[in-house]
Symmetry: C2
DNA sequence: AGGCGAACACAACAAATGTTAAGATATGCG
DNA sequence: CGCATATCTTAACATTTGTTGTGTTCGCCT
């Protein structure tokens, strides 16, 4: 396994925090000095299981994860998609249990940081606590937007919205090049994120392709018509709070 | 307007916090000593508007409110239903803007408490901050459960789940008597909460009535067959964290 | 009491989405 | 390289949900 520097671990998070919360450099340096444990996960491996009570928070250093819930009849719903720089179980800093699964979509590298270390740091540097606090609030705002997406938008528009949201978040960490970027979900998983079947996802993807809006092949999205995409997605990025508030 | 004592304002919140977070009585007493402004809203009146930056948090003392978002084509989605004792914009303590509307479903009495007063109190009594922190985390967990509800459950099961969730929350504040309780939504609004039309909501309600599961008349729910309801809702209340964690 | 508007009820038909099944294409592995 | 498996693609048909329209009921106001 190739060598990983602390820099590579923290870079996406710092890039995001600087853009969204106007982070203080000394807070970030203090964060980067924290001890962490790297763990690698393979595609489809479970990182956190519903009901667990983790003693660490994890930072996605590389790869994609999803939160997901499975109901009694076996149907699953993806609740959110997480990319490098995300802290998908920050809530466990103040709340014991996770109430969903966290699953690696692709091969992933995660850095685990002990709650104790984080809490100590927050005690010394309240700015770090504030950043994290805001981060969980953005997370909640994203969940609310997903309710709207699944509840009200047509599947055609819904997929457009999902893709634009991911693109904006990927752009923040420099993962969008020439209107092309990775969202390593299968069509079945796109369906689980939208609350429809894989067959229907396939139908909608074909329409988007035929209409010249976008193409998706094996987890790589290519935008063909930016204007049309915007029109379909009706994306209002305020909920992501992409710029620091006054 | 009849006289309202401070006790009546705080009682539902305290009842809930005692059950869910094992609140310290001195923390609650300190809360009850905070100055607040009472405001009354009529049915369908907007309490907070998308994009606003409130300087106060509100506590629902009496009545029901919903969070709701409207998309470009005019369709609306209800994001959550709030009952007496809820603090629906606690997030604004640490985050400036609201990204949805807050609307009174019925005639409502809300107590507004200045951020400054709350922050001062949290500084003096960290336990209060912890309680609030947990409260927003439960709020986020409810949002995630709604994604599952709208995305994966059949409308029939979805309505059962929605009603059981509300019942459990209403039970906490003593508003369930003899399997009967108020959820003052119109059928159209139940539809907006579930992501379906009012016509379809009506169909599903008829089925539930014919099947002897429950009855809904003008915002009053009566459970007819508890066992069947449970079976349909597949309700796992862990996400509400109804009992204090260890 | 009468009238008005909102909410409810229900039916007929249209559109969206699920189900099942089959073949095609890609990917990993021996 | 060739097999084995997962993913993608598509079609036909079933089911769910939306749309439109028309009465009916209820609560409120005068």
């Amino acid at each position: 396994m190739r060598d990983v520097t602390s820099d590579m671990i923290w870079a996406p998070l710092f890039q995001r925090l600087k853009t969204t919360t106007g982070a203080d450099d000394r807070d970030l340096q203090a964060l980067a000095a924290l001890p962490f444990t790297l763990r690698h996960y393979r595609e489809n491996q479970t990182v956190l299981r519903d009901g667990e009570e983790p003693s660490e928070c994890c930072l996605i250093a590389d790869g994609f994860c999803v939160r997901s819930k499975t109901i009694a009849d076996g149907r699953g719903q993806i609740l959110s998609i997480h990319i490098p720089g995300d802290l998908p179980n920050l809530q466990n800093l103040h709340f014991p249990t996770v109430d969903h699964d966290l699953i690696a979509l692709s091969d992933c590298t995660l850095a685990f940081i002990a709650h104790k270390a984080l809490n100590d740091l927050i005690g010394r540097r309240p700015g770090v606590g504030d950043m994290f606090w805001r981060d969980t609030l953005v997370d909640a705002a994203v969940s609310r937007e997903w309710i709207v997406n699944v509840g009200q938008r047509s599947t055609y528009n819904r997929l457009a919205h999902l893709i634009v949201e991911l693109r904006e978040r990927l752009r923040l960490i420099g993962r969008v090049i020439d209107n092309t970027f990775a969202i390593p979900l299968t069509q079945e998983q796109f369906g689980e994120a939208m609350g429809v079947t894989s067959v229907h996802t396939n139908r909608i993807l074909r329409e988007l392709r035929i209409d010249g809006v976008l193409e998706l092949q094996r987890g790589t999205v290519r935008i063909l018509n930016e204007h049309k995409l915007q029109e379909l997605a009706q994306f209002d990025g305020r909920y992501l709070h992409l710029s620091p508030s006054p």
